[in-house]
Subunit: 725 residues, 2 copies
């Protein structure tokens, strides 16, 4: 397969997808918004969300520009541009996703109001979600292909320096510009995602928790009462974190995995050729194939998503939203598998000759990458199923949690901790087995492809995931705007389905992050190893072991930072809200100053996002400077091994707390309901879980991916400047 | 230094210590017990504790015997005996420690009653504690020296098989009997410790938490009210877990570290000689030195402890217990450092010649092992200081936790989580730096010696640690037996000091476990590597990475098992207690059936200790069978990297919760005190922390050490039977 043609095909598919995205975007925008009350409230939410993103981007831009200049000067002269491209793609996707969600939420409620049909309503919400989902995949690929097209693909033997190197011969730092461009493009996506997740989590949960303090502890008011000034900020938070944050998170995973696959493709070639230079020409073909396949596989996935989501757009929907959403996912995944097989044959079928030693590590020939990708897809689906088991009220764990609520707060928290810890084993065993199988079938390259397989139909998973907050907001709007009971029945049904898809989405995000990080670490080891030398990250070394345990501790420290920040912001906002809740406001005679609270939430969130994000950037640099590349390898491994179960713990214990509360509120626990002591205990659990699942858990996966991407980018620097080189 | 003489000297010192231990034991026993009420209540506690240990040992003995037979048949013919020796030493120390504590507690209250002097009272409690402490060190060393003396030391080139190998030539499994004897002796200690910690934690916390449910949630009774039938079991639990459990825990750490040092000494020799066989004779001397030094260093520490604790026994004590306890520790540590230096010079001074390549890895000659041991000692002390910072009400974290209590339960738990996570970084950085320095100065051997340095004066640290529960029980007895106010003032002061020492003791246990496990893992890698080959545990391998993340998940699963077991037992005991709390009992006209509750606590604890303990035994075997020795190496590394911060988190968040509650109870938080909503929230935090610090945290370190010791013992088997050899 000629790479140049292939890239043009990929570019064509992404442009087609973009056209489809914008067509949907304007189609949604044109739909009627409903009653004047709905128009007003949704307008406040939309403008609040936009203001937040604007303020956030203003803060981020400085950091991004400084980093871009440093990269251009000291690493590789084109890398500042690729880094900016990554940051830009991520930002576009955030804005697009958030805008479409804030259009779609009110139109979803209105569709329910007008049609009173579940199927029709699901269509609007899913269409809104699919804009985010497809944008993640299309824009991520678009930027990637642009990087390849502008600088004419990847090369295994070129070398380059930063701008500084052009002016002085004594400047020692050279690197492979292909690797650097890809890795800085990915880093651009990562850095925006990190800021987004940290700030978004802080924003939404500080608003949420401070509302709780004011309503439940300081005054005795119902949830979401409009006399509490913090409630609107809470609404906005859903869009800021669950849509914009989630989009940039998965865009980052997706791009990082494509990059890792290509980087591993390059270095596998360099290793092989060093041992087997007699077959240089054959290897050249393999090199082209293995650096091409990742983007082709992603393109197959994008086609799958277009088919799956497009069908949902045109077909008549049944009244069972779960079934319809599952169908879209299955169609997308199925197409990805089928097209992936064809692509694997076309790309590798003609180049893998028995003469070359590499042939031995492709255990089943051209089908090896394909089988690896299927491993990723299957484990992604299985992790979703397990997440549902641990967090849905249909199954034992969450029911047991609800049943223990009458014994009081301490029991609820302890039981929730146990559920969270217990839920780590199965997903991690699946990841472990998938790693072993794909590694066995296709080596390190197989592991990277397996990670990419999991993310190859990310467009569909993010769409289904974004369905959740849109439905959630639609339900909230229906309630706040006093729409009729039948309408709320429909939105409640969508909301319930949305909760499950959100939990599954979190599981998926963590699973894919685990795969992505492992392949990033392997790429990093390949980056610092000289071609031809055996890849080694030896834990039978005191430096690496020390790195490992310190990496684990840094993850805990990161968790502590985010948790403390959320509590602090929540307390500040509660105190400010308290001041606003004068007797007049409490009597309903005056409105509190919503805008002041919204501005405050944004200010706190943005102020507090800097330290955790910069930490992730600096740790590999400082660690590497002090103790060298292998120490950083230890750090990354340690951080990953601790972060994966921690993230699963946070997500699943949080999900179980949330649903146990809902179980009691819906009177399914005999003898207990809203207002009982058991309900109060379940609310405590839910609040504890809020910070876990929406602030800490979702940021952990970016933390490890960002550190690994930074390490990949800085590997040549660390090697040069380290005190222990 | 001639090893045979050296061993005899060590034997002499241990026998002398034992004489001193028993002298103190009978001296304590002869002291008066006080009022008839005190005699009765302390009698119930003593007999309850004894009954529990008896029942527990009856259950353990079967597992121990089966394992001993398997070892004798299949691993090495003498290993069943050494394994039993380890189990026996651990059991003796448990019984001795628990008996002396249950004698000392009531005599401490009585001494306070009779003398009204803090100094005199501290002396009795510390003397009681020193019996446990010195027994841990003396019996641990005694068994170790016996193993050396009976089988004439260690050898680097002998080989042996199990009994099965004597009868059939086709039996392939051979091993180095010296390594196997040492490692099975250590395993014997570990297995008893594991059962002890798991069962003890379950016993004490199920009793504690069920009392809380009955008193605070189901009935409205004050804490420790005698109408709640579960309170006496709670008293007993303190002795079972905090004394017996802690003794076997630290005995296990101590013995495991000595074993790891000797094993590393053997394999370092084998590696060196393979590369440098020209200097065989010189190396023989180094071999003798490096396998001798660990036991000599431990002996130096024992002498230091005898001096430090002996002085406390004879001198006149001031009224400042903290100062007196610190003084004992400092004297013991100081003597260990000084004597360790002399020992290092005597053992290594004459054998480290510049001719041999090993000389290069002893960066500062004979002083290298000494400096490594100092690294361990210093980091042990520093970790203690940090633990105090995070858990004492004198410092900011716990005060902030108390200050957030008025905002409600969810805030308390979330803030406590943040404190726990934050407190991991500093201790782990210290461990990391100590590992790097000792590894740099003296290689792998240095790391093992550093771990041993931390534990070389374990006699003193366990004594101070055991002071805590004795003082706690003494205070409880003074209260329950209505002793005068002045007496309770004295016991309260001791109790407060005891809380801090207990927290420091936990930090120390975890720190030493981290060191011990790292050296056990290194010993394991050396065990499976052929002599002369480079030691490798390569994380740039899909099998090892998969092992790493699965190992981490197993730690979370283990936490979940222990937590769930505790909740289940607590619920069962609460329901049984509820049944007993008839109107007559509540009116004070009848006594509840304490013995039934005690028996129930014991039964539940013992029934539930099996699965978690067996898990630790089976994981390395099953993992190794399926995926080989390197996969198990990955498992161990992953488990360690996750378990260290988890254990610190559990201990410190639990300690902070506990003390924040006490802070509020002592009315130090203005405007809040017992009975306020803030106090109720702090009680929730304390109950959440109970399971964390006394069940999960303390068992985690044994879990990783036990797995590592099992892996060391089974390394030859795994190599032979694995599907992936």
């Amino acid at each position: 397969m000629n790479p140049n043609y292939a890239w043009l095909i990929v570019l064509g598919v992404t442009l087609l997808s973009m056209a489809y995205i914008f067509w949907n975007y304007f189609r949604i925008k044109k739909m009627p918004e409903g009653t004047p009350e709905m128009v007003e409230l949704s307008g406040i939410i939309r403008s609040g969300s936009e203001t937040f993103l604007k303020t956030e981007f203003k803060s981020i831009i400085n950091v991004v520009l400084v980093v871009a200049v440093i990269f251009t000067l000291f690493i590789e002269k084109t890398c500042g541009i690729t880094f900016l491209m990554g940051a830009m793609m991520s930002s576009i996707v955030c804005v697009l996703g958030m805008k479409s969600a804030t259009y779609a939420n009110v139109r979803t409620s209105n569709k329910a109001r007008e049609s009173l049909s579940i199927g029709e309503t699901v269509k609007v919400a899913l269409c809104g979600g699919s804009i985010s989902g497809l944008a993640v995949q299309a824009f991520g690929m678009f930027g990637f292909v642009l990087v390849l097209l502008i600088w004419q693909g990847v090369s295994h033997d070129s070398s380059s320096t930063g701008v500084v190197g052009l002016f002085t011969d004594s400047y020692a730092l050279t690197c492979n510009p292909s690797i650097m461009r890809i890795s800085t493009y990915s880093l651009g996506c990562s850095i925006v995602a990190m800021f987004n997740r940290v700030a978004g989590g802080n924003y939404t949960k500080a608003a949420d928790i401070s509302s709780d303090i004011l309503g439940k502890i300081r005054h005795d008011l119902p949830e979401d009462d409009s006399r509490i000034p913090n409630t609107i900020a809470d609404f906005i938070g859903d869009n800021v974190n669950d849509i914009a944050g989630n989009c940039s998170d998965l865009l980052e995973s997706f791009v990082a995995t494509m990059s890792a696959s290509v980087m591993i493709g390059i270095t596998v070639y360099q290793d092989q050729i060093a041992h087997d230079s007699a077959h240089a020409e054959l290897y050249e073909n393999v090199f082209n194939a293995s650096t091409l396949f990742p983007i082709i596989l992603a393109c197959c996935g994008l086609i799958g998503c277009l088919v799956g989501l497009g069908l949902a757009n045109v077909k008549k929907m049944s009244d069972n939203p779960s079934k319809e959403l599952d169908l879209s996912t299955w169609i997308s995944a199925g197409f990805t598998i089928i097209l992936g097989g064809i692509a694997s044959y076309l790309v590798f079928g003609g180049v893998l000759f028995k003469d070359i030693t590499l042939y031995d590590s492709f255990k089943i020939g051209w089908a090896s990458p394909w089988v690896s990708s299927i491993m990723g897809i299957v484990s992604g689906v299985l992790i979703g199923v397990i997440t549902e088991y641990y967090t849905s009220t249909d199954h034992r764990p969450t029911r047991e949690l609800a049943e223990i609520c009458p014994e009081g707060e301490a029991f609820v928290v302890t039981k929730g901790d146990a559920i969270g810890s217990r839920s780590c084993l199965a997903p991690i065993l699946i990841i472990g087995v998938a790693l072993i199988i794909s590694g066995f079938v296709c080596g390190f390259y197989g592991i990277a492809i397996s990670a990419l397989g999991m993310l190859a139909f990310v467009g569909a998973t993010v769409s289904i995931d974004a369905f959740g907050p849109i439905a959630d907001n639609a339900g909230g709007l229906a309630e706040a705007c006093h729409l009729p009971h039948e309408v709320r029945q429909i939105t409640d049904k969508l909301d319930a389905v949305g909760n499950t898809t959100a939990a599954i989405g979190k599981g998926f995000a963590i699973g894919s992050a685990a795969f992505a990080t492992v392949s990033l670490i392997l790429a990093y080891v390949e980056n610092y190893t000289e071609p031809g030398e055996e890849l080694t990250l030896n834990f039978a070394s005191f430096l690496v072991v020390a790195g490992g345990i310190i990496g684990g501790a840094l993850v805990e420290y990161f968790c502590a930072l985010l948790t403390d920040n959320t509590i602090d912001s929540a307390k500040l906002m509660a105190d400010e809200g308290d001041k606003q809740m004068t007797d007049e406001v409490l009597a309903g005679k005056a409105k509190p100053d919503y805008n002041k609270m919204i501005a405050m939430a944004a200010k706190e969130a943005i102020r507090k996002m800097v330290l955790p994000s910069v930490l992730a950037l600096l740790i590999p640099l400082v660690g590497g400077f002090l103790f060298g590349v292998e120490f950083v390898g230890g750090l990354l491994v340690g951080a990953t091994i601790v972060a994966i179960p921690r993230a699963i713990f946070m997500g699943n214990s949080g999900g179980a707390f949330d649903n146990a509360k809902k179980y009691i509120e819906s009177e399914q626990l005999e003898g207990y309901g809203k207002g009982t002591a058991a309900h109060k205990a379940s609310v405590t659990g839910d609040t504890v879980g809020d910070t876990r699942k929406d602030v800490v858990g979702v940021a952990l996966d970016i933390f490890i991916k960002l550190m690994s991407t930074v390490a990949n980018t800085l590997a040549p620097i660390i090697k040069t400047i380290s005190l222990m080189k």
